[in-house]
Symmetry: C2
Subunit: 426 residues, 2 copies
């Protein structure tokens, strides 16, 4: 069955995915001569960099989400369809989705990335992920459920296990999560659970590399490590997780670390729609040329995490971060409009505007070109950049109110178990 989309004489661009790449692309196509269809599994854009604050009860999910239809409401000939894309048929220029088939003149894959467990199925089946808002809420629920369970136990070892968390992966997500949990442990939980000895709650951060934040300078890595240690996070470098039984992990050096929740922040892999031939992939990502075009497929493009845009500097493709996706989205829109006007496409060049990670209260590391900041000033920069990038005036204000409350009152008021997390039965 064909998906119901109004007929028009315009050429149709179908965009799969409304993350940073897809959204920036569609914004630039606002007044174009195309018909544009955005397809996404969710009906909202989620601001992924702040998922960790939803998981740690600092922000409400609605503050970092924005409905697609609201964004697109004053665009002409732009349609949204909520669906899962199951197959791409590039030879017939159509896609198959959970709601029917759709033809395209141009296809843009902006499907992002998903958690990568590097083949470890036992961990995959039990680890908590944090790629979607629902997953972040599951982490929030499980953390609180485990604390409630801990109050019921009179076995000290079991209590410690239930209170403790293991975070795998020392990139920005892992560092930010560990810092936020350390602040919960210090400021909030002792008051909330007077009958638990919160000091015996452990926060383990496990990183296979020799340093944290390996995308940043050694100086920033060192600062993050020192800060987390001061906040009583146990950081394990050069360490991999071999196994997790729901109560403890076994590390590559044979150690056992106890924790009732394991959060996987160790790696991502591109999400590629079925139907793209494997010879078009590099490291699991879709190989694209200088115009973000999938090689050998004239009217198919890929941007963001799912695309392998290979340069001398980045032989495995651009970093899987918001920035390259956003820049590619904006650039591709211009190229599609140029192509329609009979002009030549312009090659894409990625401009690294900087990287940053927050660690906690007044603590962050920020690298903007050659300017490296740390501590309070880096933290303020991080705050401004994130509020600025959030979509929606209401969201900005609500996030500022929450952050002010969290900062001045040492408070995290969203410790709510709205839907208890239940492990799927294996």
């Amino acid at each position: 069955m064909r998906v119901n989309i109004p007929e028009t004489s315009r050429k149709r661009i179908v965009i799969i995915g409304g993350g940073f790449g897809g959204l920036n692309l569609i914004k630039q196509l606002r007044n174009s001569e195309f018909q544009v269809v955005l397809v996404d599994r969710q009906n909202y854009h989620a601001f992924q960099p702040l998922l960790y604050q939803v998981a740690t009860a600092g922000l409400e999910p609605g503050s970092i989400a924005y409905p697609f239809r609201k964004i697109l409401s004053d665009y002409t000939e732009v349609y949204f369809r909520m669906a899962e894309v199951t197959h791409v048929d590039t030879s017939n220029k159509k896609i198959e989705t959970s709601i029917g088939t759709m033809n395209y003149d141009y296809l843009v894959m902006a499907t992002g990335a998903t958690s990568n467990f590097f083949g470890n199925q036992s961990i995959e089946s039990i680890a908590m992920r944090m790629k979607t808002i629902a997953e972040a809420l599951d982490i929030r629920s499980l953390m609180l459920q485990n604390l409630e369970r801990a109050t019921l136990s009179s076995d000290l070892k079991e209590r410690e296990m239930l209170m403790s968390t293991i975070i795998v992966g020392g990139g920005p997500t892992g560092v930010e999560l560990a810092g936020a949990l350390a602040e919960l442990k210090k400021d909030i939980l002792p008051k909330d659970y007077p009958d638990l000895d919160i000091r015996s709650m452990d926060i383990h951060l496990v990183e296979a590399n020799e340093r944290l934040l390996k995308e940043m300078s050694e100086e920033s890595s060192e600062h993050a490590l020192e800060s987390l240690k001061k906040m009583n996070v146990d950081v394990w470098l050069n360490t991999r997780v071999m196994d997790y039984d729901g109560a403890s992990i076994t590390t590559s050096d044979g150690r056992k670390l106890s924790g009732g929740m394991l959060i996987w922040a160790a790696g991502v892999k591109a999400q590629v729609v079925e139907g793209i031939a494997s010879e078009k992939l590099a490291g699991g990502r879709v190989k694209v040329n200088a115009f973000n075009q999938v090689e050998g497929l004239e009217d198919v493009y890929a941007i963001g995490d799912c695309a392998a845009f290979i340069t001398a500097e980045d032989p495995r493709g651009l970093p899987m971060l918001a920035q390259p996706a956003m820049q590619q989205g904006v650039h591709l829109a211009k190229n599609l409009i140029r192509a329609q006007q009979g002009k030549e496409m312009i090659p894409f060049h990625y401009k690294n505007l900087g990287t940053m990670a927050t660690i906690g209260r007044n603590k962050a590391v920020t690298e903007l070109g050659k300017v490296k900041l740390k501590g309070w000033f880096a933290w303020i920069t991080w705050l401004f950049v994130h509020v600025y990038q959030l979509i929606g005036f209401r969201n900005k204000i609500v996030v500022i109110v929450n952050w002010a409350q969290n900062y001045f009152r040492h408070s995290r008021d969203l410790r709510l178990i709205i839907r208890p997390f239940q492990r799927p039965r294996g």
Copy 2:
């Protein structure tokens, strides 16, 4: 297994339920000589009067919820346990719960009410309820899912069915819901769904009585009816719902009304814990005396919706609203403290402070004693009273920000399907 609660020489009060009654009781017991244990299924207090705004994308769930542990964090000898109470054994002074048994010296039932389908099982199995935050979120999701489905249909009848909603019950909840949906229909949805003819979306409000808001004066009822009609709500008075097949209802006068969602706001019944003998009940509620004591059970009390406090004015018990519960909670705390001090208990008297319902933008009806307000002034009163009663400074601010945005920008930004609603399989 006995639930792990620290041993003490204090007498233990167990409170079942942290709604308006239980919460006000526990606040007054803050510095008492008792050990107090609050048992609730949720780990937060939900502000039920604003559930309808969560259901209609006007407020985030976190804005009307407040974690119990935060409220209790600076109380001494007050414990919270998240559990479902399954049985009361009054002869042995203990309760059975999902996490084990618990002894009590005094037991207070503040278990509230649940939806009452008056025995209509076919409707019960398919209707949406709105007594919890999770249920309000389910309504929000299903409404948006139905609209997404409507865009896919080329059958006009099916489109209209998917867009339309049937609300059963013309009390404050039904009126408020109908008004909020009417505003969504007018201000938001036509922009969100340019390819749907939103004018053919129907909002039906079905009431078995001859007037809306029957707890209020005829003048207020009339005003609510006129306002809703102007907002294009179809109000059906003297009408009962006989059946619903997921697409349309059959009414008591044989009419068919089409709607893809049926929200049940028609009645509530007390939630009574198993183990209370049926001769202690009146109309499904637990009969209590002038001290809110369950008749014949010396150390067992009941307050709020679950209690039948019978007076000449209210022969079926006090109205099932927040106010009686709050007053009973405060009063019972005083009596329990008096009893401990060897003083006599004081009989409870309910003081009706007024009733109110909002209908929409600048529209409400408020009755405070003999003062009857309607329109803008009633609406402002409603706003102030509700913000004032919300627990938590952050919640008050966030609600004000959201309301300001909703008011000045005619906006409802929380049109998010975070967890799609799936009907339980029958």
